[in-house]
């Protein structure tokens, strides 16, 4: 859809400024998806030190749950939405409870978590494939196009951006100003000290997983509505989320969001100038460059490596 609208603008031979504006407009949408994932993952990694790649399948799983109830079973979209968010929260919670916490109790670190999260990611994709098949599914949504000057945006896209901003604002408020958020940040800073001070870090980790899984559900549903449902998107969403978290500086929530916006724009720029097939490659070259030359990310204060 993005590509199509970009094309029609190109055919109209509009001037360069309008092209840049359209790229920015398309970019802000993908940026919203990445920000929801990157913000959550950045926070989760600093709190739990778990490289939760299976986050991507939580997002995509939520979008399938939403599609199943709304389109397949004809329920009310609000009911489907609540169901999808619950599915995501439960999936995130169970992954932590049954896998990561178990590894933690056994004192394992590093490689085992990575292998476990990869296994969870593929297990989730396998379950989605078994339940819904490999053919991409769509919501068949037709929303009005709003034209601002030479820029085209759909009503859906505008809503996605607004809701994303709202959710990220709420998440930021929770982590910054509530007692629970302060306990989370204390855990992120130094887990042992936090425990000595009487913070129940197990409870904190559980809540962290539930919270970021809700953000993932929003990202997955937005992705499904805007593009289509495809189990393989799980991998791309997870890795782009981490790319945003790393480029923004791990543990820096605002950094992750700014990095996501940057990535969204650069991705749309790549699509525009090189074609859609290269969009994934471009982000990785960016990530590669950051890890090599600026591993603390754009705004990170702590060295992560």
């Amino acid at each position: 859809m993005n590509l199509h609208s970009a094309h029609s603008v190109r055919q109209n031979r509009v001037n360069g400024m309008d092209i840049i504006l359209q790229i920015l407009a398309n970019g802000i949408l993908t940026a919203s998806l990445y920000a929801l994932l990157a913000g959550g993952l950045s926070f989760l990694y600093s709190t739990t030190k778990i490289f939760h790649l299976a986050h991507g399948v939580v997002a995509v799983g939520a979008s399938y749950a939403f599609w199943w109830l709304w389109i397949d079973l004809n329920s009310h979209p609000i009911v489907a939405l609540i169901f999808a968010v619950l599915v995501a929260a439960l999936a995130g919670f169970l992954m932590n409870e049954l896998v990561y916490e178990r590894l933690r109790r056994h004192g394992t670190k590093g490689l085992a978590y990575l292998i476990a999260t990869l296994a969870l990611l593929l297990l989730g994709i396998g379950i989605i494939l078994a339940l819904f098949g490999a053919a991409p599914k769509t919501f068949g949504l037709h929303t009005e196009v709003v034209t601002l000057g030479e820029i085209n945006l759909t009503v859906l896209q505008i809503w996605i951006v607004i809701i994303t901003a709202g959710l990220l604002g709420i998440f930021f408020w929770i982590t910054k100003y509530t007692k629970f958020g302060k306990a989370m940040r204390a855990t992120a800073d130094n887990e042992i000290v936090a425990e000595v001070l009487g913070i129940n870090t197990l409870k904190i980790r559980r809540l962290a997983f539930i919270l970021v899984s809700v953000l993932a559900a929003a990202a997955g549903i937005a992705n499904g509505l805007e593009f289509s449902l495809d189990p393989n998107r799980a991998v791309i969403l997870a890795v782009f989320g981490f790319a945003g978290a790393v480029i923004g500086g791990v543990g820096n929530f605002g950094g992750a969001i700014l990095a996501s916006i940057l990535m969204g724009f650069l991705e749309q720029g790549t699509v525009w100038f090189l074609g859609g097939g290269w969009r994934n490659a471009f982000i990785f070259i960016l990530l590669f460059a950051f890890l090599l030359f600026k591993p603390e990310g754009l705004f990170g204060s702590k060295r992560v490596l």
Partner: protein, 285 residues
Amino acid sequence: MAGYLIHILTLATIYIMVALSYAIPVGYTGLLNLGHIGLFAFGAYTAAILTTQGVSFWLALVAAALGTGLLGFLLALPARRIKGDYYALVTLGFTFVMNSVFLNWIKVTRGPFGITGIDRPEGFTEPLSFLALALIVLLLVAIFVYRLVNSPFGRALEAVRDDDLVAESLGKPVGKLRMASLVVSAIIVGIAGAFLAHFIQFINPQIFWLDNVVWILAAIVIGGLASFRGAILGMVIMFLIFEPLRFLHLPPDLLGALRLIIFSLLLLLVVLFRPKGIMGKAQLE
């Protein structure tokens, strides 16, 4: 039936080479290189593109080994500074980049359709003789890997895996050791790639996607990380589990899903309940 058996044996021979090559960085050095499948693909594509242009198989084999080694060197460069989760992320990205190249550089790779009509080397067109050739190469690879991991070099790699700070303070060139293990692994998987392309005679980007690197990872984790025999045994087990699935006559979509579910669940269970695998020495730590 005999034909089918030879087919499976040849495929298993090639994949055991891949498992052995993968065990070096993952098991011995402790670097989770998720770009290994991209290297495997590069070896396969390099050899296939050359032989379909009329280059001899042997020259193409050497080119695949050296070319993949060189690409492995590039992928190893960040390993001097980056390890653990971040290295896995970088190499996962590498797999995406390679996949984009294979899909989009249509002039050379023929995009999603892949390369077809790859002829087997002269004198080895019969399945049995090709199997014999693959077995000889596997034997050479196995002897090489066995001697490598049991040498002082192999022990230095394990020291890097167990504690890179201690290894460094003992004067081990940690960054160089990491890079060397990745390059050696890349050369071997490049050879395996050339064999795969010339055995199945067609390749496309789909064969070299992320699920397959995790499938190979499952083999060496189940067999036991940092174990030479474990890598071989693990791959044999994977073939014994997954080949019979073919006879269930399920629709392809469902078969693919079932395969994913079984091996990821198996991998998860091993990591949770028997982190040493069947015969691994190294704790998954």
